[in-house]
């Protein structure tokens, strides 16, 4: 009876000790590897450059088409090319932001992504942004930029939803400049 008790106790100890000892022996030359698997190290390598600096991030998108404007609804659409410099496929689910006059900082309207866009790692995708000028914006274009056919505006304070991660730009960070035809002259 005592033998059985002893055997069961030894089995309990062996069940706990042997896997731990075995793993410690297997990783004796790299104890950190016990907790950080090589896949994590590789992924970190993908995210960080050889000099340890961040090599990915959000590159400023480039405008690819001329802005299309509908005077009756004061809405416009503009397309950007965006390179996915992340080492993984992403889906840009939404993008919202404010549009301001670059010269005067006047709030002109809001912009948002027309539809979600999936972009593979390292590839470039086209984002179509829809926007609406406010009535005050049309007045501002008329009074402050009445003689200009093209007006410089900036997309500011924008929030991007990339595959469920909300990226919110702080005030003044990553402004996207673009030139738009003066809507006051297109009425």
């Amino acid at each position: 009876m005592d033998k059985i008790r002893l055997i069961l106790t030894l089995v309990t100890i062996a069940i706990i000790v042997i896997p731990i000892i075995g793993m410690l022996l297997a990783y004796q030359d790299n104890l950190l590897g016990l907790f950080i698997p090589p896949e994590i190290t590789e992924l970190t390598g993908d995210f960080m450059g050889s000099d340890g600096e961040d090599v990915f991030g959000l590159e400023a998108p480039a405008v690819v088409d001329e802005l299309e404007y509908d005077a009756t609804t004061r809405t416009f659409s503009v397309s950007f090319e965006f390179k996915n410099s992340f080492p993984l496929n992403i889906t840009i689910k939404s993008l919202t932001g404010n549009i301001e006059c670059e010269e005067h900082g006047f709030h002109l309207g809001i912009a948002s992504l027309s539809k979600p866009v999936s972009i593979d790692a390292g590839e470039t995708g086209t984002l179509t942004v829809l926007g609406t000028w406010t009535e005050e914006a049309i007045a501002h274009f008329g009074t402050a930029h009445g003689a200009e056919e093209i007006v410089d505006v900036v997309l500011v304070d924008f929030t991007v939803d990339i595959s469920g991660i909300q990226l919110e730009m702080d005030q003044g960070q990553m402004e996207q400049s673009m030139q738009v035809p003066n809507p006051a002259l297109m009425e």
Binding site: R5, T12, M23, L34, L43, T91, G164, I165, Q166
Partner: protein, 189 residues
């Protein structure tokens, strides 16, 4: 009929079968699952199998893998001991088999829940990352991906049905211990 009922410890038989079944189920279905964003990061955890999905890569942490082996062996030993005990509950060594087997599923459930609690508290304290045990929470990621930007993400977590199977298994094993007194109290025919 009465002697048939007390000849075996039916709770131990059910507990033993449930324990073996739990090993198989837990290898496939996690006890607890955490999802970050749109499946950007997934954590599928059980004492038998823990799988981390980071973006498109799936991997296991060697130390946790060792703990999983301990989990599998403990449950297997417990299940076998409970099954053997269930058919010979009146032998002189049966109580040792029962004592060896009935506590392990309970301990494994307790260690698993404690491990989750400790991990979430460490994440909260060290990384300032709120990880919910159940339900959803929005957390700010402590990763400086883009200067001047704030990253927030939705984390969803919850216990899966296999966790409730583990609790039922632990309860059956405890019931077997309680029923043991009734089994040994009835004289053999």
């Amino acid at each position: 009929m009465g002697s048939m009922l007390t000849k075996f410890n039916w709770f131990a038989l059910a507990g033993g079968v449930a324990t073996i079944l739990l090993i198989v189920v837990s290898a496939v279905y996690p006890w607890w699952q955490l999802t970050v964003g749109d499946d950007l990061i997934t954590v599928k955890a059980s004492p038998v199998n823990m799988n981390l999905g980071f973006f498109d890569t799936s991997f296991a942490v060697p130390f946790i893998w060792a703990l999983n082996v301990i989990g599998i062996l403990s449950l297997l030993a417990s299940g076998v001991a409970m099954l053997i005990y269930s058919v010979i509950p009146r032998k002189s060594y049966s109580m040792h088999l029962l004592g060896f087997g009935y506590k392990k599923p309970l301990y494994i459930v307790l260690f698993f829940v404690m491990g989750l609690l400790v991990t979430t508290v460490i994440c909260q304290t060290v990384l300032r990352l709120t990880i919910p045990l159940i339900g959803s929470a929005t957390s700010t990621l402590p990763i400086p991906l883009v200067a001047g930007a704030t990253l927030t993400v939705l984390l969803s977590a919850g216990f899966q049905w296999s966790f409730w199977l583990a609790i039922v298994t632990a309860a059956l094993c405890i019931a077997a211990r309680l029923y043991h007194g009734k089994v040994v109290a009835v004289p053999s025919v």
